[in-house]
Symmetry: none
Subunit: 235 residues, 2 copies
DNA sequence: CTGGCTTGTAACAAAATTGTAACCTGAAGG
DNA sequence: CCTTCAGGTTACAATTTTGTTACAAGCCAG
């Protein structure tokens, strides 16, 4: 699962810091903005998965920003969690009406923050629900997370699964090890490129069942490719 | 698909208004009632597809009404979503036990409301008349809340029951711990994800009787799945 | 109020996965 | 024929993930 990006919008630095710490601990990637202006450009630019928006902002208020976001096509799908101070409770209803997905009252525990955030993400998340992919008797079904070769179940690790999923959705094209690390492992990890070789090997082993491992092809000096056509080397 | 009819039961007019606006926007037809009395006659009379029921009502409380509905033959099949104010969270379990299908804490976002409502409708639609579900000798009877394996009664806690019910109505699909918390525990709870593991374990233990625990399968790195087919790992 | 049952968590055990290094193989190019 | 080097294989320890057990707190019937 690729890492989620959260945008923190708050004008108080210590609060931002606290939020960032809590979020990074829970393995989220953070962006920060101190005002509505820069927040907006960050949103358009980086497309965060969720926005943590303080109610009080200098200049344009948080609620104003929220309203604006919900009006724009590109940004209206991004869930928003409002931060409000104690005593501003009336604003909650207003905030939610504007389209915020949840709200949190300061002060709050990091745990609560992360819990709510997860709840919102899991609700708005998913629905990239593609149907099963089948090629030459090899089937990958994202819904059940199952691989079969001619209806025989195939067992492999999570990384191999993601690798195969990527290959199946990007056939007939060569990817360098570096690109594979980006797409399958997720951008900001540091692992040796040769690690890819090992997982390619593991994937091939898993697909051996009916010779289906021949689809995972090596392109010397370039990288790997998933292709139904036979490789030049065995022609 | 014919338009669904939702009955809103709440004594506060502004809340009813807000709900109606949200629901009509999502293309539902609305009925309204301010007290349990008129709610009940509307239900019998108009047969709504779903009831949004406020916890707090003058006279008969919401929960009382819910209990009453679930006892009566005609009305027991209609799904109920409970509305509770923040802080009344403890009541949630009670609400679910009475037979509510979900519950939402005020204040909530219109989007959340509609999302949950859709989820509940979808759930009760597909597996229509709450008849007993049987697979491979394993039977779950919603009416009597009983589980049997080859006619042998099986004992488990309420959470395990709901978990199994969810699995039986959503076979062949992986659910993350997070999603299970959402669907089985109800969205707004905040419990550790590992808690799911423990309940999975309890469910498996209960189903051991005739090896039926093998249907509850672990999908490493993803979550759990209920499937009659064997898992790849034991092939 | 008591005793039994359920529930969420923590803690520990077991198992599977992951990244690396080391070594092996075969092809390309001289 | 030899060298070089990209890629193939294997082994393994660290890390992650899941299984299992124990336990304190909450709830409810009696």
């Amino acid at each position: 699962m690729p890492q989620k990006t959260i945008l923190i919008v708050d004008d108080e630095t210590p609060i931002r810091d606290m939020l960032r710490v809590a979020l990074e601990m829970a393995d989220y990637h953070c962006l920060e903005a101190a005002d509505a202006q820069s927040a907006h450009s960050l949103i358009v630019d980086r497309k965060p998965d969720l926005i943590l928006l303080d109610w009080m902002l200098p200049g344009t208020s948080g609620i104003e920003l929220a309203r604006r976001l919900k009006r724009e096509e590109v940004t209206s799908q991004i869930p928003v969690i409002m931060l409000t101070a104690k005593g501003e409770e009336d604003n909650k209803v207003q905030g939610l009406e504007v389209g915020a997905d949840d709200y949190i009252t300061k002060p709050f525990s990091p745990r609560e923050l992360v819990a709510r955030l997860k709840a919102v993400l899991r609700r708005t998340d998913n629905f990239s629900d593609n149907g099963p992919i089948t090629v030459e008797g090899l089937t990958l079904d994202p819904a059940s997370h199952r691989i079969t070769i001619n209806d025989q179940p195939v067992q492999m690790g999570p990384t191999e699964y993601r690798l195969l999923e990527f290959f199946l959705t990007h056939q007939e094209r060569v990817y360098t090890r570096s690109q594979l690390l980006d797409h399958v492992w997720g951008g900001n990890v540091y692992v040796e490129e040769r690690t890819v070789d090992v997982h390619i090997r593991r994937l091939r082993k898993a697909l051996q069942l009916d010779g289906h491992d021949r689809f995972v092809q090596t392109v010397r000096g370039a990288g790997y490719r998933f292709s139904l056509k036979i490789a030049a080397s065995e022609a």
